[in-house]
């Protein structure tokens, strides 16, 4: 009996330091957000009016901008997820080799991840606006002449570039770990059976990397919907509303237009969307994990 109590205590000693902050800083604000979304509060006054589901009704019937933000965020998420994972797998394969440069390239690819997202946004804003312009004037290369942040067609690509630059390194490390866990004997027996490099990749590497793929897909999907730091520092949702992601739209609604209740309703909807998508996605990839 005492042993069980001791085990219980040890369990809580390790779990509590993480569980308690999670409850206070994640779970509680979500509940408060749900609560505020039922009121019409401007974030400042001492009184709030209970309006029930009116915020949600307004959201679905009267807010064209919200659906534009939704479309933009989905489009961005799709490109981000596909490109990040494909490029991260390719880079992991590259870096996994026995070349002398492998360790160096590994560090190089991971470095952008260390830079804080807001700083990355400002850095790239400078690059896109000033550096690229100066280089274009001295070299005349068309590619450098594109004003990424100046047009509604290209601004979202600029955000994609910065986010990819930042997150590929992180996902590459996860894939690298996954790659290294694959038993070399599988490749040997495949080689004996006459399999070429491509077949080896699709029939052995990819299926055995499914756990890593699950993690990375989940990570990048959630991150794409939560896009905020880079969005704010690079484009602020502009030009016009072409890069108004869901998170920055919520921020503007709640704090710049003094509509905290309505902004909270938007945030709750975002939560539901992200939870649904990531649960569906995790379920799908979990089923395809192969254990050998």
């Amino acid at each position: 009996m005492r042993k069980r109590a001791k085990k219980g205590l040890e369990f809580w000693m390790f779990v509590a330091p993480v569980l308690i902050p999670f409850l206070i800083f994640y779970f509680l604000p979500i509940c408060m957000g749900l609560y505020y979304s039922l009121f019409d509060w401007n974030g400042i006054s001492k009184g709030m009016n209970f309006i029930g589901l009116k915020n949600y009704i307004e959201l679905f019937t009267n807010d064209k901008n919200y659906f534009e933000s939704l479309a933009f965020t989905f489009k961005f998420a799709l490109f981000n997820v596909v490109l990040t994972n494909v490029l991260a797998i390719l880079m992991a394969l590259w870096v996994n080799g026995k070349l002398k440069t492998s360790k160096f390239t590994r560090t190089c690819f991971f470095m952008p991840n260390i830079v804080c997202a807001i700083v990355a946004g400002f850095l790239w804003r400078f690059i896109f606006n000033q550096i690229s312009d100066t280089l274009y004037k001295s070299t005349g290369l068309d590619f450098l002449g594109i004003k990424w942040l100046g047009s509604t067609d290209t601004a979202w690509v600029a955000i994609l570039i910065v986010v990819l630059w930042q997150s590929i390194g992180y996902n590459m490390i996860i894939y690298l770990a996954g790659l290294n866990m694959i038993d070399k004997t599988f490749y040997e027996s495949a080689a004996i059976d006459g399999a070429g490099k491509i077949t080896k990749f699709f029939k052995i590497t990819l299926p055995l990397m499914m756990p890593s793929i699950t993690i990375c897909l989940f990570n990048v999907t959630a991150q794409s919907f939560r896009l905020f730091d880079v969005n704010v520092s690079l484009t602020k949702g502009g030009p016009g509303r072409s890069t108004m992601g869901l998170a920055i739209d919520i921020y503007n609604e709640a704090f710049k237009q003094n509509r905290l209740g309505y902004g909270s309703a938007k945030a709750v909807i975002l939560l539901i969307i992200v939870m649904t998508i990531t649960m569906l996605q995790t379920n799908y990839t979990r089923k395809r994990e192969v254990e050998m």
């Binding site: 040890e10 000693m13 390790f14 330091p17 993480v18 308690i20 902050p21 019409d40 401007n42 974030g43 400042i44 006054s45 001492k46 009016n49 309006i51 009116k54 009267n62 896109f128 606006n129 000033q130 004003k147 990424w148 942040l149 100046g150 047009s151 509604t152 602020k236 949702g237 502009g238 030009p239 016009g240 509303r241 072409s242 503007n252 704090f255 710049k256 237009q257 003094n258 509509r259 309505y262």
Partner: protein
């Protein structure tokens, strides 16, 4: 066994390490004073350009009043969020700054009525409207500021160009400037807030019986899409785009000030507040500002000038009477007046104060003020946040994704939405 406890302790320490972090940019300046009946008052503002001046002002006050400690907090990023958080948490600052008009109105419950104070009689009429709420004076305006077309005086002198009074003269001027190989305008259209101000300076401010129109617009009896002057603002915008640089939507504050200060462009639509940035790039610059003309009639052309920021006394703060004393001191003391004129570089809101600082653009603003040729800003009277939405609509027009009719329609829709939201 020991290892387990060590591991648990490390896990716990992670929580505390994770919890420590600094938030935003904060400058706290205060000087310790003698002990005694110590009263601490908090003074919150967002203007980064005033941060050293505010500390100097606070120090001067603390010298004369040794039992009061003034804590100056400057949050240039996220000021309104920090202020709201402080208010809602119950930490009402004794003195805080808002933009006046609608912005001030949203803080209604935390403002103190200052109508009984003596200095209210001494404020210029042009500055009074900003702080008036339902007939009561709820704050003290800090400075006046104007916005229009800043122009390079040296360049104008060299080529013999003259300040245009009508829109036709402006177009003629642009053609002459272009003929010399210089870009006439540098348009700072990456900034949606600037375009919101442009909406006023090129259109809304020109609407006759402006106060009445705003009231009717709020009541839903008028529509921006049916208004002459608003439709005209898109024509003015077309002119600026035609004679402006390519890809104007990648130019923000820094980019435009650089282009203007280095002589790449002759003019830009901005306010007298860009002086410090421009002067830092080129200390030899000679510049001025003229009102953006929108009509054929030189008589109509006026500069948009209004109070830029105002002090309020927080209702529900710990020591409002100390805060009030501080404000009264600013309005009446010689020392305070000198600091306001030289360090804050204010364009005076009080009768009898003379402008003293070196801002060449402010000199132009004062010329228009003295001549009585000014409009109110208008945008602080729009619903909170409307200025930014309007700016985004203008950006959509500039990008070509909307026609001027569609843009005007969107301006109306956004207005209705925000007004209805206010009334819920």
């Amino acid at each position: 066994m020991k290892k387990r406890w060590l591991a648990a302790a490390l896990a716990l320490s992670m929580v505390f390490a994770g919890g420590c972090g600094s938030s935003g940019k904060e400058d706290e300046g205060s000087a310790k004073s003698d002990s005694g009946d110590q009263v601490t008052i908090t003074y919150m503002q967002w203007q980064q350009e005033f941060s050293t001046a505010a500390i100097k002002l606070a120090d001067a006050y603390m010298e004369e009043h040794p039992n009061v400690k003034v804590e100056v907090i400057t949050n240039s990023d996220g000021y309104s969020e920090n202020l709201k958080a402080a208010l809602v948490a119950g930490n009402v600052p004794e003195i805080f700054v808002t933009e006046g008009y609608e912005n001030m109105k949203s803080y209604e419950e935390y403002l103190t009525d200052l109508s009984e104070e003596e200095w209210t009689g001494n404020i210029k009429d042009a500055a009074l409207q900003c702080v008036t709420l339902d007939g009561n004076i709820m704050g003290m305006p800090i400075t006046m500021a104007g916005e229009g077309i800043i122009y390079n005086k040296k360049m104008f002198k060299e080529h013999g160009w003259e300040v245009p009074q009508t829109i036709t003269e402006l177009e003629e001027l642009c053609k002459k400037i272009e003929a010399e190989g210089i870009t006439p305008f540098n348009n700072q259209f990456a900034d949606d807030w600037l375009l919101g101000q442009f909406m006023s300076g090129s259109g809304y401010a020109y609407i006759p019986d402006n106060a009445e129109y705003t009231k009717e617009l709020y009541a839903g009896n008028e529509k921006l899409s049916e208004n002459e002057q608003m439709k005209n603002s898109f024509k003015v915008l077309d002119l600026m785009l035609k004679y402006g640089q390519d890809d104007c939507m990648s130019y923000g504050w820094n980019e435009t000030c650089t282009a203007f200060a280095t002589g790449e462009a002759a003019m830009a639509f901005e306010g007298d507040w860009v002086w410090d940035t421009v002067y830092a790039i080129d200390p030899e610059i000679e510049c001025g500002m003229f009102a953006l003309p929108a009509t054929e009639n030189a008589e109509d052309t006026k500069m948009i000038v209004d109070a830029n920021g105002c002090f309020h006394i927080g209702k529900g703060s710990a020591h409002p009477e100390a805060g009030l004393d501080y404000l009264n001191w600013i309005a009446t003391s010689e020392t305070a007046k000198q600091i306001m004129l030289e360090d804050y570089k204010v364009i005076p809101v009080f009768e009898g104060w003379e402008y003293q600082a070196d801002n060449q653009l402010a000199v132009s603003t004062i010329e228009y003020l003295d001549a009585g040729k000014t409009f109110m800003w208008s945008w602080p009277q729009w619903p909170v946040g409307y200025q930014y939405s309007a700016g985004k609509t203008y950006q959509n027009y500039i990008d070509g994704s909307m026609s001027s009719d569609e843009a005007l329609q969107e301006l109306d829709d956004t207005w209705t939405k925000l007004v209805n939201a206010k009334e819920e």
